[in-house]
């Protein structure tokens, strides 16, 4: 059992964000490089068309007005409008392309993150609240779109304009250019001073955001318990504290971000003042013309304008970084149970199972199973009994390779399950889990999950086998009745039957029933048993049950306790042995007989 994370604990990141991590966005950017470059070209074109405007004004003022040429004025105006239309169309295409690039990039990231999460083992999901994973896949990914499209294009455009203006300034006067650039070291100094603090502030914010989301998510899922236990007031208090922490962290991060424009705007003004001071008071020998100084001052504004934009992009980079670090943290999560590099598909199996010296622990040092050995012939039915928590579910879970072993191996038809692909392994095993999960959709869809291409007849047959057909027909729309995860329109027993039908439909080579009928009434249970009797013939099966009456006919009964198999044999053998099983059995029989 890995250490669990809760809403009260900030997640620590394996690799804190640094600019190098941004390089990891490269493949996503490269996939969409066409759209991005297109956007860039259109953006530059739009800027150039935009720059033509003042030229037209210049022509009107300098040439046409002195010549009193009204016709030409109108012509130029028409030309001006045409240029404007061109500029507008460039902007149009630029916007479409950035939006395409941005949304495709986040689509790719989302598919990757989601796909990676699907590969992760139970441990990952067991060790953190669901809300914290959810927010990464949906919200965080959405929030990086703007930076990875608009932000990138803008950076290039702004950088280009800075370079152009720099060239113009240098051509005009290198000395005065230095004056204009005098503010740059201040900006760099500020960045160095604030960098880590700013990053920390945003990282802290996103951790607090995760916590609040995790808590809300859990509150929603557990609302009925909360209501039944009158915990409303206390939970409000907890949520309030989380929100306060979130807002405090957000405020801190925002107040750092807001400093940047203040700083740049002031520097921009100071630089212009500095320029005039130097030009007039110190560079007296150069005798700058007024026109040059004025031109330089206007360049100074045009130089610092893009820097202002870059600074804003920098802010959003840091902000985006706090999302990216969590996204990449998820992508970096090690897949502990995966196909080996040379894993082969498991051929169709007959159902021979061998556990050889199997040792297993959820938590290091606390073994649940030790040196367990078990041989199952194809077609045998195996019952697992014993006290709760002894490891019955564990024995079947490791057969499905939901967890890897600490020692020993498990063979299926002689193939070590670790050397075959997970997909080929699990698709031949049908496990009916303890919790009955119902997906949003129709009852039909829920059963069909066991075999995606199943026909309606197959679905109905499966439902009939487990005695679910009758109650399904009694629901509002029969098999097309909409149900959902909480599905409280279905009772627990009904949900269990639907899940049972789903497992049956998959027609697995090995059927594993982990308390498949625990929530079902005795009478229905009996019918279900009769229903699946045919199905179990010739098929290896593992059955975990507490009502011993349901397993007496199994080929082998295993009594699981003390980290292994304590007793093994048929019902009769175990009864004559008068050991643990016998005790359990007589206790139950008495319990019933006493009645």
């Amino acid at each position: 059992m890995a250490k669990r994370n809760t809403y009260g604990v900030d997640e620590t990141l394996e690799t804190p964000f640094n600019i190098k991590n941004l390089m990891r966005c490269k493949p996503y950017i490269l996939h969409n490089i066409k759209a991005l470059i297109g956007a860039l070209i259109f953006s530059i074109l739009a800027t150039i068309f935009g720059l033509l405007g003042p030229t037209y004004t210049q022509i009107i003022i300098d040439d046409l007005i002195p010549n009193q040429n009204v016709r030409a004025v109108v012509m130029i105006a028409v030309l001006y409008f045409i240029t404007s239309c061109l500029a507008e169309f460039c902007t149009f295409f630029q916007t479409i392309m950035t939006s395409k690039a941005g949304h495709r990039i986040i689509h790719e990231i989302r598919v990757d993150v989601f796909g990676h999460i699907q590969k992760l083992s139970f441990n990952y999901f067991d060790s953190r609240p669901r809300g914290k994973i959810l927010i990464r896949v949906v919200n965080y990914v959405n929030n990086v779109a703007d930076f990875l499209s608009n932000g990138l294009v803008n950076t290039v455009v702004q950088a280009l304009s800075i370079i152009f203006i720099l060239i113009f300034m240098l051509m005009l006067s290198p000395k005065l250019t230095l004056c204009v650039m005098a503010g740059l070291p201040l900006v760099l100094l500020y960045l160095v001073l604030i960098k880590s603090r700013q990053r920390r502030a945003w990282t802290n914010w996103s951790a607090k955001n995760s916590n609040a989301t995790a808590y809300v998510s859990e509150s929603i899922n557990g609302m009925q318990i909360t209501q039944a236990f009158n915990r409303e007031k206390i939970n409000q208090g907890i949520y309030q504290t989380l929100i306060q922490k979130l807002n405090k962290a957000h405020m801190k991060a925002v107040s750092i971000n807001l400093l940047m424009p203040v700083l740049i705007e002031n520097i921009m003004r100071f630089v212009v003042c500095f320029l005039y001071l130097m030009a007039v008071l110190f560079f007296t020998q150069e005798q700058y013309e007024t026109g040059v100084i004025i031109a330089m001052a206007s360049y100074a504004n045009r130089f610092w304008g893009p820097i202002q934009s870059m600074a804003n992009i920098y802010n959003s980079l840091i902000n985006t970084g706090s999302y990216l670090e969590r996204i990449f943290d998820t992508l970096d999560e090690k897949v502990d149970i995966k196909d080996e590099p040379d894993a082969k598909d498991l051929p169709p199996i007959t159902g021979r199972v061998d556990y050889e010296n199997v040792t297993f622990a959820y938590e290091e040092g606390i073994n649940i199973l030790e040196n367990l050995n078990l041989h199952v012939e194809p077609g045998q039915s195996i019952a697992l009994v014993g006290p709760t928590g002894a490891g019955k579910s564990t024995i079947v879970n490791i057969l499905c390779r939901f967890y890897d072993l600490q020692g020993g191996r498990i063979l299926l038809d002689g193939h070590d399950i670790r050397h075959v692909t997970l997909h080929s392994l699990r698709s031949q095993l049908g496990i009916m889990l303890q919790d009955s999960f119902i997906f949003t959709g129709t009852i039909r869809d829920n059963i069909r999950y066991g075999k995606l291409d199943a026909t309606d007849e197959e679905i109905i047959t499966a439902a009939k086998t487990v005695c679910a057909h009758d109650f399904i027909m009694n629901t509002e729309n029969g098999y097309d009745t909409e149900v959902n995860e909480k599905g409280s329109t279905l009772s627990s027993g009904q949900r269990q039957l639907i899940c049972f039908a789903r497992t049956i439909l998959a027609n697995p080579r090995i059927l594993i029933l982990d308390e498949a009928t625990s929530s079902i009434d005795t009478e229905t249970e009996k019918l279900v048993q009769e229903g699946i009797a045919n199905l179990l013939k010739g098929r290896t099966s593992f059955i975990i049950a507490h009502r011993l009456s349901t397993i007496a006919n199994c080929d082998q009964i295993l009594y699981i306790a003390n980290k292994g198999i304590q007793e093994q044999g048929t019902h009769e053998e175990l009864l004559t042995k008068k050991g643990l099983y016998y005790q359990l059995y007589t206790a139950q029989a008495e319990e019933t007989a006493n009645v």
Partner: protein, 600 residues
């Protein structure tokens, strides 16, 4: 629609709570700052004129700065520079302050809205949750609220900034040339109409994007909950395909929205450009006719082109504002959801321990199906009521009525002789402890889970309760014992272990009614027997037990058999056996099996 909108907006403002005045004052300041930031530019213009060009006329600016004609150039320059520095520091400082305060208001407001919604969620009934996917509610509590935050702290700021800039520029144009400006105002109706179209149309765009977002959020949330099933059926590829499909659809809608927005905003932007060029053209003709000076034209031209900036920003703002309004509407919708189980207007003030419970002719319909049909029951302190019946007969629903997760559609439940509807919901639930069939544990320590009803519970008490539920043994074997953190679905523990923690949680609650809904289904029989023995010791409570096994119910004072929502058999164990009906049949199945096998 507009009416709904106003309500959503009023809801947001009502959560600003005492900061409304400050909010509008700050927005006023935004307009003011818009004027102040123009000052440095004017100052530098004057600097150029006076210091470099030798201009001698004195304006109010020079008077404020103490600049006189014939002053030393250097001193003049320094005074101007100091003026620029001072105004620049002042205006940016002020703007920073306004920003910070707006953010503070935004966070405080969003915090209040979050709390208001959270409280609302707590009052909503089981029926609401059965139909509303959690993923959607989580989206309401996260991204929808974030958008409202942005509206208050930055979109509102941008609106005021751009509108005041637009008005100010228009005012300056009028100031310089009234007739020409009047001509330009002919374009304003075009702006208004196009803006309105964008306003109406982007609503639809944002709505469909928001709906797709919900769909994706709901799907991912469910997938994360279903990971065990996904892996058990090796359906990772299928799930990837589903996400891929949803995400692609989301992407396509987002891109399409961007396109459609451009179809509307481009004509608007072109109109703005046309207006500026038209202004320039007419002004040039005026100059040619001698009705305007070139200098005037330059100024006029600058202002005419300055109009474009706010127009552009406003088209974007309209769109994002609609996005916010779509979210605000969702939030308001959630906020105004009426809980179908709530407190009646007249409440019985009397409360206290539950001594008797009586169902008088209770019926319940859900989604048009009759779930319970004319149920009559009576139990009092110290008694045990047991409920048995086939799967889906309505057992769980019946006990849900007791804690008022639902209210009966016909008939009524009387508690101590008072209609349950007239008892304060909180006070009623305080008296009831329940262990449900579906075990939901919170991701917290085992200790906190058991002490869920009372976080101040002593460790000793928690231990004792765990012992009652036969959970102490396995808890103590965990490496962190009672401090072990367990997950949402209590995963990592076996089904039986989870049930026992839930049972401990229920018995730990100081209540006068305890309900056990098939709480021992995953517990082995031996442990169940011990649990039942422990439970027998509790005599000061009413006990309601739902079970599948005869052994769990045989000692009850009354056993009822529920079939298709109706009580078909009732009585004590022996009486029911004598009836030779459902109960006797179940008994026979269980008994027969044991008999056959023991001697078989």
């Amino acid at each position: 629609m507009l009416f709904e909108l106003m309500k959503s907006i009023r809801f947001i403002f009502s959560n600003m709570h005492g900061k409304k005045f400050l909010f509008f004052f700050l927005l006023l300041m935004v307009a003011l700052i818009g004027l102040i930031v123009l000052l440095p530019t004017i100052l530098i213009g004057n600097l150029v004129d006076h210091v470099l060009e030798g201009e001698t006329s004195i304006t109010w600016i020079e008077r404020v700065l103490g600049i006189q004609v014939g002053m030393d150039k250097a001193e003049m320059l320094i005074r101007y520079v100091l003026g620029v520095v001072a105004i620049s520091l002042f205006s940016t400082g002020l703007r920073y302050l306004v920003h910070i305060l707006l953010h503070r208001i935004a966070f405080q407001t969003s915090g209040r809205i979050r709390m208001a919604l959270y409280e609302k969620l707590q009052t909503l009934s089981a029926d609401f949750y059965a139909h509303m996917p959690s993923g959607e509610l989580i989206a309401n509590m996260t991204s929808d609220i974030s958008l409202i935050e942005s509206m208050i702290c930055s979109y509102a700021y941008d609106w005021v900034k751009n509108i005041s800039l637009f008005i100010f520029t228009l005012y300056m144009l009028f100031y310089y040339n009234t007739t020409l400006t009047l001509m330009l105002t002919a374009f304003l109706p075009v702006f208004a109409v196009l803006s309105f179209v964008i306003f109406r149309y982007t609503r639809l765009l944002h709505k469909r994007l928001r709906d797709k977002f919900s769909e994706m959020n709901v799907y991912v949330n469910e997938n994360l909950g279903a990971y065990r099933v996904v892996k058990a059926f090796a359906r990772e590829d299928y799930e990837n395909q589903r996400l891929n499909k949803l995400s692609t659809e989301y992407q396509d809608i987002a891109i399409d929205n961007a396109k459609k927005r451009l179809y509307f905003s481009t004509p608007l932007h072109l109109t703005a450009r046309l207006m500026s060029i038209f202004g320039l053209c007419v002004a040039a003709i005026y100059v040619i006719r001698g009705e305007m000076t070139v200098g005037m034209l330059t100024i006029f031209n600058t202002f005419v082109f300055n109009l474009q900036e706010p127009v552009r920003s406003i088209t974007t703002l309209i769109s994002v504002t609609q996005q916010v309004l779509v979210s605000a509407n969702k939030i308001y919708g959630l906020y105004t959801t009426e809980p179908d189980v709530g407190n009646a207007s007249e409440l019985q003030s009397k409360h206290g321990r539950i001594k008797t419970i009586e169902f008088r002719d209770v019926s319940l319909e859900l989604d048009g199906c009759r779930i319970l049909d004319h149920i009559n029951l009576k139990i009092s302190t110290g008694q045990t009521l047991a409920i048995m019946g086939p799967t889906g007969a309505g057992k769980t629903i019946l006990i849900s009525l007791l804690i008022r997760l639902y209210d009966p559609t016909e008939g009524a439940i009387y508690i101590n002789g008072v209609n349950a509807r007239r008892i304060d919901l909180q006070k009623l639930r305080r008296e009831i402890a329940i262990a449900t069939q579906d075990v939901f544990l919170f991701s917290d320590t085992i200790d906190s889970n058991i002490a869920y009803s009372n976080p101040d519970m002593s460790e000793e008490m928690v231990r004792q309760m765990a012992e009652t539920a036969q959970a102490a043994d396995f808890i103590e074997k965990l490496s962190d014992g009672y401090d072990t953190i367990i997950g949402e679905r209590g995963i990592g523990l076996s089904g039986g272990q989870r049930q026992r923690i839930a049972l401990a949680r229920a018995v730990a609650k100081d209540s006068s009614l305890i309900i056990l809904d098939d709480t021992t289904s995953a517990v082995d029989m031996e442990t169940e027997v011990s649990i039942l023995q422990e439970l027998r010791k509790i005599t000061n409570k009413i006990k309601v037990i739902v079970a599948q096994r005869i052994s769990s119910v045989q000692d009850a004072d009354e056993i009822i058999i529920l079939q298709n929502g109706r009580i078909t058999e009732r009585g004590k164990h022996e009486e029911l056996l004598a009836l030779n009906g459902y109960y006797a049949e179940i008994y026979r199945i269980a008994h027969q099996n044991e008999e056959v096998e023991l001697h078989g």
